[in-house]
């Protein structure tokens, strides 16, 4: 039952993704064509709010609701961020979606995106299969 709260956070997150239109293929096209501030505004504001929140949590030593210290795993650099990042960028412009928005697009009525999601799961699986042979 302690996981149920994440269902509600997910519902909150999904509603925002749809209502702020960041799951729209059209908005993603507009972003990659530099024809509107919308997407840059959403992502920029989100990062700014995220940075301030994380700094406040760290400096004021704010604990989780269960009283634990907040720990965030650092991200390790690998060449994967370059190669994988570029490949994901291609996919983002094609589908108009990152992994989170895929779920929101399906929920909002585009059932055909289930195929895109299955293909994304397949892509993750193939990465796992080839991992040792890829440059990192």
């Amino acid at each position: 039952m302690k996981n149920l709260k994440y269902l509600f956070v997910g519902i909150f997150f999904g509603i925002i993704l749809v209502k702020s239109e960041v799951i729209s293929w059209l908005r993603i096209q507009e972003m990659f064509r530099f024809q509107s501030f919308h997407m840059y505004g959403v992502i920029g504001t989100a990062v700014l709010v995220g940075i301030i929140s994380v700094q406040l949590i760290k400096r004021l030593n704010i604990k989780t609701i269960e009283g634990e210290k907040v720990t965030i795993m650092p991200k390790q650099f690998s060449k994967g961020q370059i190669y994988g990042g570029l490949l994901f960028g291609f996919g983002w412009a094609l589908t108009g979606a990152c992994p989170g928005p895929l779920f929101a697009q399906i929920g909002s009525g585009f059932a055909v995106v289930i195929i895109t999601l299955l293909s994304a799961i397949g892509g993750t699986w193939v990465y796992g299969y080839l991992r040792e042979r890829l440059p990192h």
């Binding site: 570029l86 094609l94 589908t95 779920f103 929920g107 796992g128």
Partner: protein, 187 residues
Amino acid sequence: MIDLLQSPWPWYVGGILIGLTVPLLLLLGNKALGISSTLRQICAVCVPADIEFFKYDWKKQIWSLYFIGGILIGGFIGGYLLKNPDAIQLSSETISDLQALGVKDFSGILPSDLFRWSELFTLRGFILMVVGGFLVGFGTRYAGGCTSGHSIMGLSNLQWPSLVATICFMVGGLIMTHLILPYLLAL
């Protein structure tokens, strides 16, 4: 009130609420925002196939499956119950650029002339949906995160590898949009 919820939310409302998801998950249980790792999770649960990368204690990460279940429901609420009755207020330049490439439907979040079942059996639709999806799943895992894990969570925690990843996401998207997509949409 319902009008306010149905109309699209301005960028700063969306941005602030997405940003607040970061501390919300941290304070609820030390969880880092990130969704592409859930795709690995689904592989580990459904088709581990004895691959090292899928042999880990996925039960510890079970919260993320609740989270994506929520996103699906949230997508339904946002897309049906709070549905925006009007088309997206896209820039007129984007509309004319895309019309020149043959896109016809601007009424919803995705152009239904490109994203529908019958299109899956055309080369164009196959590349957009199936190849595109594959690249999203392969690329995000190779990069160790997606827009949420790197661009929102990683940048929030001032991680420079996440900045490298975010720049590469943008470069990849620009190459696809400007150099490849025009030919693809003409197929």
